[in-house]
């Protein structure tokens, strides 16, 4: 994930998603989400290759036996 999210990137993703944005919106969105994106990027997450979203359920359900 990039350390920064810029307005042009937001504009392009919105265009691809066919969601209309007011002219000032991409800059506002970029400002709003950048701290979150930067924090997650700083974590430098390395997820095992085989992990998928439903692996969460596997970890969670181990607790039932506890």
């Amino acid at each position: 994930m990039p350390d920064d999210i810029n307005p042009e990137r937001v504009r392009l993703i919105a265009e691809a998603a066919r969601v209309p944005l007011r002219p000032e919106a991409p800059a506002r969105i970029a400002r709003a989400v950048s701290p979150t994106a930067q924090r997650f990027a700083a974590e430098k997450v390395t997820v095992p290759f085989e992990t998928e979203p439903s692996t969460f359920v596997v970890v969670q359900r181990k607790e039932i036996e506890r």
Partner: protein
Amino acid sequence: MNAPPTLTDPAMLTLTELAAAIRARKLSSVEVTSELLKHIEAWQPKINAFVRIEAEGALELARAADAALARGESKGPLHGVPLAHKDMYYSAGKVAGCGSKVREGWIAPTTSTAIARLEAAGSFRIGALHLAEFAYGPTGHNPYLGHARNPWDTTRITGGSSSGSAAAVAARLVPAALGSDTGGSIRLPAHFCGVTGFKPTYGRVSRANAMPLSFTLDTVGPLARSAEDCALIMQAMAGPDPLDPTTSGAPAWDASTTTRSPKGLKIGVPTSFYVDDLEPDVAAALDATLKTFRELGAEISKVDLPDQTAVAAAALIVLAVEATSAHAPWLRERPDDYGAQVRARLENGLAYSAVEYLEALRWRAPALAAHLAAIGDIDVIVAPASRVVAPSIVETDVGGGSNAEATILGITRFMRPLNFLGVPVLAIPAGHSKAGMPIGLQLIGRPFGDESLIALGRAFQAATDHHQRAPSLP
């Protein structure tokens, strides 16, 4: 401790007391419903907790419940009890407006599993409750419905998104109500309004035919006066549902474990994040609660949790993208029908790519594994629900100044990591500030340790009276 309420004032009874009194025919369902309707009439103009009041329909159902009991027929443990729920739970043939202009007048074609199970246990609805637009807001603001107001101080926020549920339970308008919790929407209003709120383990209660916000994070749970009352709702509602695959294999509710003594229970207190920069009143409530837990025989120790800011960031990314995905058709066709705050939040979800979203989502399993490794054999973590008591409506509204967004982010800080981890959390009243505003704490459990939290909450509430305090009609 307060004197127990009398049967002459049914609105002041807890859900457990009310259900027992109706079952024993010490009170009729019609008496209870009529009394609650009087309270609603008095409070509604002050706090805007209801979006619809269904007086005639409720009284008709109350009469039917009384007639059934007279014939010796009881539907279940909630027989004849009037409840109201956040207006995002579908009931076939009835409006579910979801707090929005977009779904104004929308008639639900199906009934949510949670509602169906509560009705199968004998409850019926007396109306529908206020919420943040599409449950996407932590304050209780709603430009379309008008803002909900805190019964303890009507210039302050209720918290959201289950704003009406918390306000109605706090003001004694209903004995319990369903909320939903995707990023704190049960726990935060429970804290601000001084009621008990329960966010179950993700997968413990079916989300089928409830309005979605973020399918990875959404949980269905009650707000009530006590942990005991939350258990009564959970017993009726929890368990697998073929309409919601995330509940597959989840254990049934085990009521026998909800009365266990906390003696020997291992309680952890975070060394950072959840204890940073607390208002003095909140810190004092935490200290007093830990003292009570010690006196009840629990073993208290410090715990170093993984960095919660990273977990919160992952939760925000998942929430933002899933909510935007669900709303994309309406964002394309009628974006002006959203309020300014919610439209802005939904547009934020456009900033992330599919790879980034899935990277955050795939990290959920390792993040939970790291959390469990960090807590070791600790049963329950105790933490404040928020650094502060309820702020004012004005300072958190659109146009509330440059600090509004920072204030909103600040009040939700201790919420989102726990949705990402999917763990159960019981929010309990634990004191009041010097200004008289409620303070809530979070009891954070292990996955599927829901009943242990109820047991600890019950023991705490048997030893304290914070949960029995009620606001006065302004």
